[in-house]
């Protein structure tokens, strides 16, 4: 439409084209493709080391889960501690369909998304009326309720005994004798979550989620339906989390309430990883997972027997350090430094 002339001001060029001032989705997808390349190299290097492939698989799984959480928790600022419920919803959906009906786990990913999103919408409808810490506490309670229900409805969950998923190696069963295919699957999951998060972030929904996080009154004043936007962000976030649950169930081939719904190992973990990596940034949750997950393996290996719970103490200390000195996490801090020194010419 109206072309604003390029002007030279303080050595900086500005034009009327607004999209020159924002990172485009294409740029973001290129960066993710670059990451995919790096992970491919890692796979080649680690291909004969099951121990390290296992760490890689977990890192990517939890990186993907934290990236999913970040869509509503980070972009939208809704600090859910109930994502374990959606994780479990996906895991139980896949486990049941595979165990009872012999349906290929690949096909169960679709119902897993639907079930996890539906559960998320049902529980978020009331809880999204709560703000800040009250919302977080309510979602924490949801996790506990889900734990009790999972123990009670043993027809669906196997109850406290859990469900052991049969080992029938083959691509169609998503069961493999080597760790390599699992690592590839988890990398794929991570990339899917990153691409989804990038699409959300570079769309109206992403901007609306951020506006809701930053100032609900301002958001409403420009026509944003706050509850609706939160629910949409939650549905996307929970759907991806459900897929993570499905993949996790097929990886360890065992599901029971403590594994799926433990607060410290699942519920709080997505948030913790995101906080350390940089909540609300696209790559923060991945950065957090790259730091935390291998560190946890290391701690468990070295401290595990000598000092039970030692790994949790180290993680707690790490979180305190980040809360005190790096409020914006790894990625947020780096981008702030970049803003201050790297992009001086912008001012």
């Amino acid at each position: 439409m109206s072309k604003i002339e390029a002007t030279e001001l303080g050595g900086r060029r500005t034009t009327g084209k607004g999209d020159r001032h924002i990172t485009s989705l294409a740029t973001e997808l290129l960066r993710i493709a670059g990451l995919a390349g790096l992970f491919a190299i890692a796979l080649v290097v680690l291909r004969d080391d099951p121990f390290l492939l296992n760490i890689l698989a977990y890192t990517c799984l939890f990186g993907g889960l934290a990236t999913s959480w970040n869509i509503i928790g980070g972009f939208g600022g809704q600090f859910s501690l109930g994502h374990g419920v959606f994780f479990a919803a996906g895991a139980y959906t896949t486990a049941n369909l595979y165990f009872h009906f012999g349906i290929s786990p690949w096909l169960t990913l679709i119902p897993a998304v639907v079930v996890a999103s539906a559960v998320a919408l049902a529980v978020s409808w009331p809880t999204f009326r709560l703000k800040g810490p009250f919302f977080a506490i309510a979602t924490l309670a949801l996790n506990e309720v889900a734990f009790v229900l999972a123990n009670y409805f043993d027809g669906l969950t196997g109850g406290p005994r859990g469900m052991m998923l049969p080992f029938r190696a083959g691509f169609e069963n998503m069961v493999f004798t080597s760790k390599l295919p699992y690592a590839i699957i988890m990398i794929g999951f991570l990339l899917v979550t990153l691409v989804t998060a990038a699409i959300v972030l570079r769309s109206r929904l992403g901007y609306y989620l951020q506006a809701v996080r930053l100032d609900e009154d301002a958001a409403r004043s420009v026509g944003i339906g706050v509850l609706r936007v939160k629910l949409m962000g939650m549905a996307v976030s929970a759907g991806l989390t459900g897929v993570g649950g499905s993949l996790f169930a097929m990886y360890i081939r065992y599901v029971d309430p403590p594994t799926l719904l433990s607060i410290q190992d699942v519920g709080v973990r997505f948030l913790l990883i995101s906080l350390i990596g940089g909540v609300g940034t696209l790559y923060g949750p991945l950065a957090g997972a790259l730091l935390i997950v291998p560190l946890e393996f290391q701690l468990r290996a070295t401290l595990g027997s000598a000092l039970p719970g030692g790994n949790l103490m180290v993680l707690g200390a790490l979180l305190v350090i980040f809360a005190l000195f790096m409020r914006k996490g790894l990625v947020g801090t780096v981008s702030d430094i970049w803003d201050r020194y790297g992009r001086r010419r912008d001012e």
Binding site: M1, G18, D19, R204, Q210, L214, R220
Partner: protein, 242 residues
């Protein structure tokens, strides 16, 4: 159609517990009107805006927009009808860039990122902030943030614009800039409501003024007439004497 009321208040009332912040206000604006609202601190001006834009449900009375009762609509629904506003305590999204702040408004009628960005850039240029597009809103000056908030409301393609003390704290040159901007928007056909403390600004607009005190309208007319009204003078002198 041409003489339709853009916005009207009918016996509009807001009580906070025992306090009547706005008491039985009546006025009506035609499309393209410019209305200044003045009054001492705590007179109920911001509360009136919050009633008009839906932040508060009224305790009594109605808000009429284009002949339709909108009293029960939420703020976001009224924004979609074309009511744009700024906040007395600035509500720019400080961690976002200036452009992104305006895009948040532009998205209402433009779903695509590029289209929203383009429209937002166009609006930023209109309010004189084009070269600050990629600067975080939190690092803008006060006067820039005020104009940014106006830009965000304009990006809605609003037909009614409500400005809550957008000149407060600005120096004379910045005030003149904003007056120029508001005049231009009014000239383009926007219906504008301006809450103002600065009587010079009210005089500069030369349009209808209503004066509020303790939630009631104590005067309504041209600036010359209203500002020489003894009741108005008393309300203001009373405040000064404190």
């Amino acid at each position: 159609m041409s003489d339709a009321t853009a916005l009207a208040a009918e016996n509009l009332t807001k009580r906070f517990g025992g306090l009547t912040a706005v008491g039985g206000l009546n006025f009506s604006l035609r499309r393209g009107d410019l209305l200044s609202i003045i009054g001492p601190n705590g007179a109920g001006k911001t509360t009136l805006f919050n009633l008009l834009t839906g932040q508060h449900p009224p305790s009594d009375g109605r808000v009429i927009h284009e002949g339709r009762d909108i009293s029960a609509l939420a703020p976001e629904q009224r924004a979609r009808l074309g009511l744009g506003r700024t906040f007395q305590i600035s509500k720019t999204l400080t961690s976002m860039t200036a452009l992104e702040n305006v895009m948040i408004g532009a998205f209402l009628h433009r779903g695509k990122l590029a289209a929203a960005a383009e429209h937002a850039m166009h609006i930023l240029d209109r309010v004189g902030l084009a070269r600050r597009a990629s600067v975080r809103a939190g690092t803008l000056t006060l006067s820039e943030r005020r104009r940014l908030e106006i830009a965000r409301a304009l990006a809605l393609d609003c037909s009614v614009l409500l400005l809550d003390e957008v000149m407060a704290g600005l120096n004379q040159r910045e005030v003149d800039d904003v007056i120029g901007l508001v005049r231009q928007l009014h000239a383009e056909g926007l219906t504008v409501l301006v809450i103002e403390h600065n009587l010079k600004v009210v005089r500069a607009f030369e349009n209808r003024v209503i004066v509020m005190d303790f939630g009631r309208m104590i005067a309504d007319g041209t600036p010359d007439k209203v500002l020489s009204d003894p009741q108005v003078v008393e309300a203001y002198l009373g405040k000064k004497a404190e």
